[in-house]
């Protein structure tokens, strides 16, 4: 098993059209994108169509790339978009 970081980003679905590409550009090898709903300090996301949808991005990567992703999100989006990021350690199973 290999130790990696699992970066979780919960943000507005508007960013779904740009953020995944940027994450790949920063060196991540892939991502998983979910459409989600929930509630937080910026109000309840009803999941109706008028901008209130949220997405969740999960990126499994090396620590160095995780730091780059966080820095990128902080500087470009955190000020004006609802965004929540947390990181977990992940043991990746080698299926090889």
């Amino acid at each position: 098993m290999k130790g990696k970081k699992l970066v979780n980003i919960i943000t507005e679905s508007t960013l779904g059209s740009v953020l995944p590409d940027e994450i790949i550009m920063l060196g991540a090898s892939g991502y998983t994108l979910f459409e989600v709903s929930g509630s937080g300090k910026r109000g309840k996301r009803e999941g109706d169509f008028t901008l209130s949808q949220n997405i969740k991005l999960e990126i499994l990567c090396e620590e160095e790339i995780a730091s780059k992703i966080i820095e990128h999100c902080k500087s470009k989006y955190a000020k004006h978009y609802a965004m929540f990021i947390f990181i977990c350690d992940a043991d990746v199973v080698d299926l090889g």
């Binding site: 999941g47 109706d48 169509f49 008028t50 901008l51 470009k76 004006h80």
Partner: protein, 315 residues
């Protein structure tokens, strides 16, 4: 006015609105909403295309120019009012103004249903005007925002792509082309779905619109009295502009009513998506509550009969 209220389309909207206010568990599944919105855009496009094939192109030149004029002038007027009277900052003024320049295809569908119901004739090519009006208004909104306020994280080319190649414009234009190219006999095979069932589908869609509008009502207190008044007065101002332009370019009473309604309607799908990207510092609660929570129901219930009344006086 009462006659307008007792219409299935309006009543479905009210039923959805009340369901949302009472917090019932009524909710249209997302895929159904998606299908309905795609259906409505194609149906509107087709209807316009069929009628477009019957008119001379020269006839639509002036109405199209008039519509572009409306698309440029209304967001500018809205911006000035919001900035000077409402004391909104530049970002919020530009974002809200773009919504009021742009159009709502559902409001268009409702005015068409209104005219059909009262057997008032109108120029069928008004669908072209719907497409034409969508673009300059959002472009003007983005330009005001870019010059006056924002340094959004997205490039201009990304924004243009978002607006021009969004599915609303694409489906409307393709519907127009199909309706225009195909002969009436060929169209007749899909007529049951796209023409005969149109009003029923529209009513169904408005049930969802009622629900979505009700979610916005809870934000009314947060946006303040000025924006609530703006949500009613701005469509009346742009309705007058639309009526005058309709009269000047030689549209019929029905056609002028449609143009006034288009001019008065505020976008709540294309514009919010574009503005969230173009002007991230503007607060979506302001523009969504104004366009969806106030202006949309106002136009649906009171606005359309008022625009018809204005058109029948002037034209």
């Amino acid at each position: 006015m009462i006659e307008n209220l007792l219409d299935p389309v309006i009543l479905f909207f009210v039923v959805g609105l009340i369901a949302g206010i009472l917090k019932t568990d009524l909710k249209l599944p997302e895929p159904i909403y998606e299908v309905l919105s795609i259906y409505l855009l194609i149906a509107i496009g087709l209807k316009g295309g069929i009628q477009l094939s019957e008119v001379n192109f020269e006839k639509i030149v002036f109405p199209t120019l008039g519509t572009i004029f409306i698309g440029i002038i209304t967001p500018i007027i809205a911006y000035i009012i919001l900035r000077r009277v409402g004391r909104f900052d530049r970002a919020n003024s530009a974002a809200i103004a773009a919504h009021y320049g742009s159009v709502s295809a559902v409001t268009y569908a409702v005015v068409i249903a209104f005219l059909d119901k009262f057997k008032i004739s109108y120029e069928g090519y008004t669908t072209v005007l719907l497409v034409v009006l969508e673009i300059p208004a959002i472009a003007v909104g983005i330009l005001i925002a870019k010059f006056k306020a924002s340094k959004g994280p997205f490039s201009m080319s990304k924004l243009i792509k978002e607006v021009l190649f969004g599915r609303s414009i694409y489906l409307l234009v393709m519907g127009l082309l199909i309706g225009y190219v195909l002969s009436p006999e060929k169209i007749s095979s899909i007529k049951i779905l796209f023409t005969d069932l149109f009003k029923g589908m529209l009513a169904f869609f408005l049930l969802e619109m009622g629900l979505v509008t009700s979610y916005r009502l809870k934000d009314l207190k947060r946006v303040g009295i000025f924006l609530i008044a703006f949500g009613v007065i701005m469509p009346l101002i742009s309705g007058v502009i639309g009526t005058l332009v309709g009269w000047l370019v030689g549209l019929s009473v029905g056609g002028t009513t449609v143009l006034a309604t288009l001019s008065a309607s505020a976008s709540y799908i294309a514009a919010p998506a574009a503005m969230r990207i173009a002007v991230p510092e503007a607060n979506p609660t302001f523009y969504l509550t104004a366009s969806l929570g106030i202006t949309f129901p106002f136009n649906l219930i009171l606005g359309i009969p008022i625009y018809y009344w204005m058109a029948s006086i002037i034209v």
